[in-house]
């Protein structure tokens, strides 16, 4: 296990380096630069700005400087925000997005599997239709429509639920639900098909033939095996939820991380683009590792051999 983790760690470093390099050169190969759009600017000011951020140096030199700073954990100054560094922005936005993301994740993880399992147990009956309608709505209706519908019909009518803003728990209710619908629907559909498959397995019949009650058969034998495919998609799902959603945060006026992902690209804020990309990659890599480890714990067939695989 130790050896395996060590190996995974080095592989993650290499992956990150590749991501950094590709993003860096792709970003610089896109026409324009952070200051090109700011209207007429005296050439001296423009040149001073270029020099300040080191943009006048050759690309390769910029790349080396960036890597050096990165090794110290420094993402650099934002090229647009004059007051905050990229580290500041992530430190400010991430806890907010992560809080919302965890809430949404919990909602999705509780209701998704339950809906999916119910649908499978009552295949082609009313509960199946109801949960699959919810799933289809969750997948096909974009979050900005869901968000506005919630504001219109819930926030406007229930006095203690605010329309937007951030600060207390009640602020998180609507955005967390809106954010959870997509993953919830996705998990429900996955759970349904996986549960249907498991219910048709021979070992379910064996469990029944032992005289076990229906609920024991379902909870102890079916659900545990049916949940495996869901664990494998959780890595990506959780990372996406944690770093926040541009749309949901915009609609509910939440100062999270989501906006940076979009805005940094529009404004060619080089350091922020790099910062958000690397940050997302790190979270994704960690989540995928956690998923792989939890897989080992859940499914005994997957055991890491002593050689470290």
């Amino acid at each position: 296990m130790k050896k395996y983790l060590l190996k995974r760690f080095f592989m993650s470093i290499i992956t990150l380096w590749a991501i950094v390099t590709i993003t860096f050169f792709l970003m610089h190969s896109v026409p324009g630069n952070p200051f090109a759009k700011e209207g007429k600017m005296p050439p001296t000011v423009y040149q001073n700005l270029q020099r300040k951020y080191g943009l006048d140096k050759p690309k390769s030199e910029q790349y080396v400087i960036y890597l050096k700073n990165l090794l110290r954990g420094d993402f650099g100054d934002s090229m647009k925000s004059r007051v905050e560094t990229v580290n500041d922005m992530i430190e400010r936005g991430f806890p907010i997005s992560a809080y919302l993301g965890v809430e949404a994740l919990l909602i999705a993880l509780v209701f998704g599997p339950v809906l999916g399992a119910l649908a499978a147990l009552f295949q082609n009956k009313v509960p199946d239709y109801i949960s699959m309608i919810i799933a289809i709505i969750g997948i096909s209706v974009p979050s900005f429509i869901m968000g506005t519908v919630f504001i219109q019909f819930i926030a406007k009518n229930v006095s203690w639920i605010p329309i937007g803003g951030w600060g207390e728990f009640r602020h998180t209710i609507l955005p967390a639900i809106a954010l959870s619908l997509m993953p919830l629907a996705y998990i429900a559909r996955l759970m349904r098909s996986s549960m249907l498959e498991v219910l048709g397995q021979d070992y379910i019949k064996t469990a029944k033939s032992k005289g076990l009650s229906k609920s024991t058969v379902i909870l102890k034998h079916a659900v545990r095996n049916a949940i495996l495919p869901i664990v494998s998609v959780l890595g990506t799902l959780i990372s996406n939820l944690l770093v926040g959603s541009f749309v949901i945060e915009k609609i509910f006026g939440i100062p999270g991380l989501g906006a940076f992902f979009v805005n940094s690209i529009v404004s060619r804020d080089y350091t922020l683009i790099m910062g958000t990309t690397i940050f997302y990659s790190i979270i994704l890599i960690i989540m995928l590792l956690l998923v792989d480890i939890s897989y080992v714990l859940i499914d005994p067939r997957i055991r890491l051999t002593k050689e470290g695989r």
């Binding site: 021979d202 070992y203 033939s209 032992k210 034998h221 005994p300």
Partner: protein, 328 residues
């Protein structure tokens, strides 16, 4: 000998999109105490449906019981509710399935899977149940049972898994064991071991066995009585000796001929029965073996033959056995 199981006029059908499939058509048979009854027939003849009907493990819907009774110690099992069936399963009737590779839960330890079955019917602590599980593994000759209980199914070979399945089936001393093709998925050398174990346990515990198989080779040393099934019906029934020495139904004769034999001439090819069984969406009006039977008469096409009793234990369903067809 009194009967532990008495199946009377059982018909089981499946409702499908294209119509009703009559998988089992009006079969009746009995199983005596400590008796081993073999049900033989080719794939799709209704053997497994019969077995699963007794345990009521068929998915319902699409399956449904059209008619008949399954009397277990005089009580009709079909009248029991789902909940009441749970008490019968494993404690009185238990089952061993065809494919040991898929019949055990892959994410649960072997021990827990056996313990679960023990605790359902016996009021034992977890520790005592585990002790009992180890004893059961010993009974089916799994080596190092103390170590094996803590392992997962993927750490067992096919033959070992089937032993575990038998141990699992025997935990509460059932009076009837249904073995649904228990050796089909195993290789030949392991087959013999598994059958040997089943026979041993039967001697020790004295349960009855229904052995379902398409392999006539294993029937001879295992069973007391043989039922030959075809297209959802029983075509011939008799003591094992009668079926082997004096088969009456052309289908049985053909089946016996198609068993490979050691004394076959070198250049003799293996026998097979031409054609395929009839479609059970529209079961044939007459004899179901009509299409493939080389002795078929005109009457066979449109009229279903009734059972002809050859002696107290031997009967078959063929027009050729009719007193008026004696010339043949």
């Amino acid at each position: 000998m009194d009967n532990i199981l008495d199946v009377r006029n059982l018909s089981v059908s499946f409702k499908t999109f294209f119509g009703e499939v009559e998988a089992v058509r009006d079969i009746s048979f009995t199983v005596g105490r400590k008796q081993t009854v073999a049900i033989v027939g080719e794939s799709g003849c209704g053997k497994s449906v019969t077995a699963n009907s007794i345990m009521q493990l068929l998915p319902m819907p699409p399956a449904f019981f059209k008619s008949g009774k399954i009397l277990f110690k005089g009580e009709d099992l079909l009248k029991r509710t789902d909940k009441q069936m749970e008490e019968v399963r494993s404690s009185q009737i238990s089952m061993v399935f065809q494919d040991p590779m898929t019949s055990l839960n892959p994410t649960m330890k072997i021990g827990s899977q056996i313990v679960e079955g023990i605790q359902k019917h016996k009021n034992l602590s977890r520790r005592d149940a585990k002790k009992k599980a180890i004893e059961m593994l010993e009974l089916v000759a799994v080596p190092e049972p103390e170590k094996r209980v803590n392992q997962y199914p993927h750490e067992f070979s096919g033959g070992m898994r089937q032993r575990v399945m038998i141990a699992l089936a025997m935990v509460s001393n059932p009076e009837l064991l249904i073995a649904d093709e228990p050796t089909t998925a195993l290789d030949v050398t392991v087959q013999a071991q598994i059958l040997e174990i089943m026979k041993d346990i039967q001697e020790q515990m004295g349960m009855s066995i229904i052995l379902i198989t398409h392999d006539l080779g294993i029937v001879a040393d295992m069973s007391d009585k043989v039922l030959v099934m075809y297209a959802g019906q029983i075509l011939e029934e008799g003591l094992t000796r009668e079926i082997y020495k004096n088969p009456k139904h052309p289908y049985t004769i053909k089946l016996l001929e198609s068993v490979p034999r050691l004394d076959m001439a070198r250049n003799e090819s293996l026998h097979s029965i031409e054609g395929t069984p009839p479609d059970l969406y529209i079961p044939p009006k007459g004899c179901s073996f009509f299409d493939r039977c080389e002795f078929a008469l005109k009457v066979c096409k449109d009229y279903m033959p009734q059972f002809h009793q050859h002696n107290k234990t031997h009967k078959s369903r063929c027009w050729l056995n009719h007193p008026m067809a004696k010339g043949k």
